[in-house]
């Protein structure tokens, strides 16, 4: 009887293991129909860790596979967890490329010794030089601006000028912004630390608390809805989410979006804050050449056009125009700052947020 216990315990474990591996097999079969010989050849694939979850990205990868025969395998998760996985796996990692929707994480990956230099003349000719790291540690794929969304009914855009001006008494209790755990707020404050110094940045964050219409809550779409509902007059949001709102399948969301004006702050001074989605080669990637090919493809005109039009992001290839919607908001001066600084100062920004009590 005791033997039966042992045997059956092994059996169940084996079954559950088999159940799991059987599934991987079927996965591999399924993949191999798309990308030839995923599991056998290590030559013709590229493995990506990405925190961009968009369907657009997958479509671009599929297109890349059909054009080059190089299979693309993806793990999608949060960037911090992916960096940790990459670090833990060390030399044994199968990831070749790490893609994040925040430059700070790419900087952090590099700081932790997880990436290597990306050098390709094609990428350099594809991408506006300000969107490539000066030391070739990462390259941008798309760009988003953090703008001031205002109520078309109640706000005269000529009253708006800079991010700094939002702390003016005029806007007291009228500004909506999400929580400081949001990465785009962190990189916004990091840019102020770089441009105006730590002290000024802290003053700004602290003064913003009294400009807030309510405690930070919800996501970017919620901030814009609150503006239209009259909870406040202004919101700090990403252009990308306004694009999504205006193209929502929900007619009321579209209506909300149509009552929002877009203002690019700091045009007279140091430019509007942007953040990028970007990519780095992993240090121990085994298919780095393929990874570079993929980056060349993604920064190429066709892919950049698709990013711009399907996903309301700004292209980083100067030959590709933004989508009509984005063009309609007008051109703008981009914050003049080394992108890697956003990563370098991210921790400092979080400390300031915690210190001043921006939830």
């Amino acid at each position: 009887m005791k033997k039966i216990l042992l045997v059956s315990s092994i059996l169940v474990l084996a079954i559950s293991i088999l159940g799991c591996t059987a599934k991987t097999n079927s996965d591999e079969i399924n993949n191999s129909t798309e990308s030839i010989n995923t599991s056998i050849s290590t030559e013709n694939i590229v493995n990506i860790y990405t925190d961009r979850h968009y369907d657009t990205d997958q479509e671009l990868y599929d297109k890349f596979t059909s054009e080059t025969g190089i299979g693309v395998n993806v793990v999608k998760a949060g960037s911090d967890e992916l960096l940790e996985r990459l670090a833990a796996e060390g030399e044994e990692t199968s990831a070749d490329l790490i893609i994040t929707s925040d430059v700070g994480r790419l900087y952090r990956a590099n700081e932790n010794g997880l990436t290597k230099i990306t050098s390709s003349d094609i990428i350099k000719s594809n991408v506006d030089s300000k969107y490539i790291d000066e030391q070739d540690r990462f390259v941008a794929l798309t760009m988003r601006a953090r703008i001031i969304a205002y109520s078309l009914d109640r706000v005269d855009p000529s009253a708006l000028s800079t991010y700094e001006d939002l702390t003016d008494e005029r806007w007291s209790g009228k500004v909506l912004v999400r929580s400081s755990s949001n990465i785009y707020n962190q990189s916004l404050l990091a840019s102020f630390i770089e441009l105006n110094g730590e002290e000024q940045a802290e003053k700004w964050a602290s003064a913003m608390l009294s400009s807030m219409a309510r405690d930070p809550e919800g996501n970017d779409r919620d901030q814009m809805k609150a503006v239209v509902a009259g909870e406040g007059d202004l919101a700090i949001v990403n252009t990308y989410y306004l694009g999504k709102l205006l193209n929502s399948s929900d007619p009321i969301e579209v209506e909300v979006g149509s009552k929002i004006g877009v203002f690019f702050p700091n045009q007279e001074t140091n430019g509007t804050h942007i953040n990028i989605s970007g990519a780095s080669l992993t240090k121990y990637g085994k298919n780095s050449e393929n990874a570079i090919k993929l980056l060349e493809f993604l920064t190429g005109e066709a892919a950049q056009y698709q990013y711009a039009n399907a996903n309301f992001e700004y292209p980083v290839n100067p030959n590709v125009e933004p989508s009509d919607l984005l063009k309609g908001w007008g051109e703008f001066k981009v914050q003049d700052i080394q992108l890697s600084k956003l990563g370098e100062l991210n921790g400092k920004a979080v400390e300031i947020f915690n210190k001043v009590g921006w939830k």
Partner: protein
């Protein structure tokens, strides 16, 4: 005596293996406590901890009270009294569990928020709308309580169902009515089961990050993630988690002690189970109102909202990989549920038969993996299995297996989830086994059956309700599990819950709803199947 202990040793051995699988990754976390304290630590202590801990405590207490009350009332009422649609009511009560809490947050954010469903109704009626502040501590308590109450229902119900008729008879003889029987007899004896359920709820609340982030209610887990993601300081984040783990461990330890001293008598036979009785009219009115209110907010509104959102996503959603995603989800959840059930049976039986300090300790340790936020434990598990792989690499080579066999395949995810959900399965089975007690088992032994035979032939059938609860809990939990699946999955591996998350995190709630509805449907199918099986076995007995 000596012979008996030796005979049981395979049980102890397998328990030891199972518990060590849980223990080692947790130890990896605790060992990191020995690393020098980073400068961030002071910053965290100065600015984050006080308020965040206060929020966490407020959340835990309120949610524990609400889920305890709602869960116990709904579950006991259904067990004790006759209802015309009892089976359907049973199933309905479990459905809220299939809705991940953070999706519950999006649903109620979207329901009460600006231009949400209620706001739209007000607009169409031309009435000004003052939105209730759902994005608050109170709102979080509301959402948590709605979607976590089934945990209490499930675990306490398997206990209520097997309470012997004699307790009711004796109480009646002594002149107590239903209400006072409940408070003076039933509640004291079922406290352990109710608390087991509440503890699962508390652990879920402690771990949760998505809802509190969306609602802007910073909690202890916000502090952990803000330290890791914001400051890039995983060591300090782990330090915070370890504190959490130690606190949870201490609570559980004392809860266990407290319970053991109270477990004086075991209730008895299945055949002695009381018939459901007809309650008073007043009871039926109160129960119906509670039941309907609860279901309106936890099932009806959420599903209606999800259906509406899914309808909006019809034009944009891409379902080309759906078949793969479904098979991945179902096979994985089933395999893990099996593994969890089996291991829980071993450890809880070991605890019962080999009632030593060691085996009792095991039953406390098993819950460790569940007390740490999932992303943190997944990193610990990853590191643990990476070192196992590195250690076993020569063996893999010898057998011609893949290099890094565990970590480069789905095995990693399966093992990790099994470890994580052991607490869930164990809690339910353990409370069932404790109730059955040793008498039947000992009778079997006296009649010459081996411990295993007695367990399989005598205890297991009596344990049916607990096993079914454990099965539902584990399966549905794995179905909606997110952080571990997200980070430990192999390439190109999607489940329903990763789909929900990837869309929701990108503020594409319409698309996310489609997959959330699928999670609910699969859970519903499981519940129906189990109901069917239960019915069959009832006929068998008749």
């Amino acid at each position: 005596m000596k012979k008996r202990n030796r005979g049981l040793s395979p049980l102890l051995l397998s328990s030891t293996i199972i518990v060590s699988m849980i223990l080692f990754p947790s130890l990896l976390l605790i060992i990191r406590l020995l690393n020098p304290v980073s400068p961030n630590w002071n910053h965290i202590k100065a600015y984050l901890l006080n308020e965040y801990i206060a929020n966490s405590l407020a959340l835990i207490f309120s949610v524990a009270i609400f889920t305890g009350l709602i869960g116990t009332f709904l579950s006991y009422g259904l067990c004790r009294f006759e209802f015309k649609y009892e089976k359907a009511m049973n199933i309905l009560l479990y459905i809220p569990m299939a809705i991940p809490v953070y999706i519950g947050g999006y649903i109620y954010g979207g329901f009460f928020g600006n231009f949400g469903t209620i706001h739209r109704i007000f607009i169409s009626l031309g009435i000004p709308y003052n939105r209730p502040d759902i994005f608050s501590l109170g709102g979080s308590v509301f959402v948590f309580s709605l979607f976590l109450s089934p945990y209490v229902v499930l675990i306490s119900k398997s206990f209520f169902k097997s309470i012997s008729k004699s307790y009711f008879d004796v109480s009646k003889t002594l002149g107590h009515n239903e209400l006072s029987t409940f408070f003076r007899v039933i509640l004291p004896m079922s406290k352990g089961a109710i608390i087991s359920g509440i503890i699962l709820v508390i652990l879920e609340v402690l771990n949760e990050y998505g809802l509190v982030k969306y609602f802007g209610v910073p909690t202890f887990s916000t502090a952990i993630y803000s330290t890791w993601f914001g400051l890039g300081d995983l060591d300090s984040a782990i330090r915070l988690s370890s504190i959490l783990m130690v606190v949870v461990f201490i609570i559980l330890f004392f809860q266990g002690k407290f319970e053991e001293s109270k477990m004086v008598s075991d209730s008895k036979s299945i055949s002695n189970r009381p018939q459901r009785i007809k309650g008073s009219n007043r009871f039926y009115i109160i129960y119906s109102i509670t039941f309907i209110l609860y279901l309106t907010f936890s099932v009806l509104i959420p599903i209606a909202q999800l259906v509406y959102w899914s309808y909006l996503a019809i034009g944009t959603i891409k379902l080309n990989d759906l078949f793969n995603i479904l098979t991945n989800t179902i096979i994985m959840a089933s395999a893990i549920t099996l593994a969890v059930l089996f291991s829980s049976l071993i450890v809880s039986n070991c605890k019962r038969l080999i009632n030593t300090k060691v085996s009792n300790l095991y039953s406390r340790l098993i819950i460790l993996g569940y007390s740490v936020p999932a992303s943190i434990i997944s990193i610990a598990l990853l590191n643990y299995f990476l070192s196992v792989d590195r250690l076993l690499d020569p063996m893999y080579l010898y057998f011609g297996a893949k290099k890094m066999l565990i970590t480069s395949t789905i095995l990693l995810l399966c093992l990790a989830l099994t470890i994580r959900y052991m607490a869930i399965g164990f809690n339910s089975i353990d409370s069932g086994l404790r109730k059955i007690g040793m008498n039947y088992h000992n009778s079997g032994r006296i009649l010459g059956a081996s411990p295993l035979k007695s367990f399989v032939l005598i205890d297991l059938p009596m344990l049916k309700h607990s096993i079914i609860s454990a099965l539902i809990l584990t399966f549905v939990d794995v179905l909606k599990e997110l952080p571990i699946t997200l980070i430990l999955r192999p390439f190109n591996f999607d489940t329903l819950s990763t789909k929900v998350f990837t869309y929701a995190s990108d503020e594409m709630i319409h698309e996310a709803s489609v997959y959330a509805l699928m999670i609910i449907s699969i859970s519903l199918i499981l519940l129906l199947i189990l109901q069917f099986i239960r019915k069959e076995s009832q006929y068998d007995r008749a």
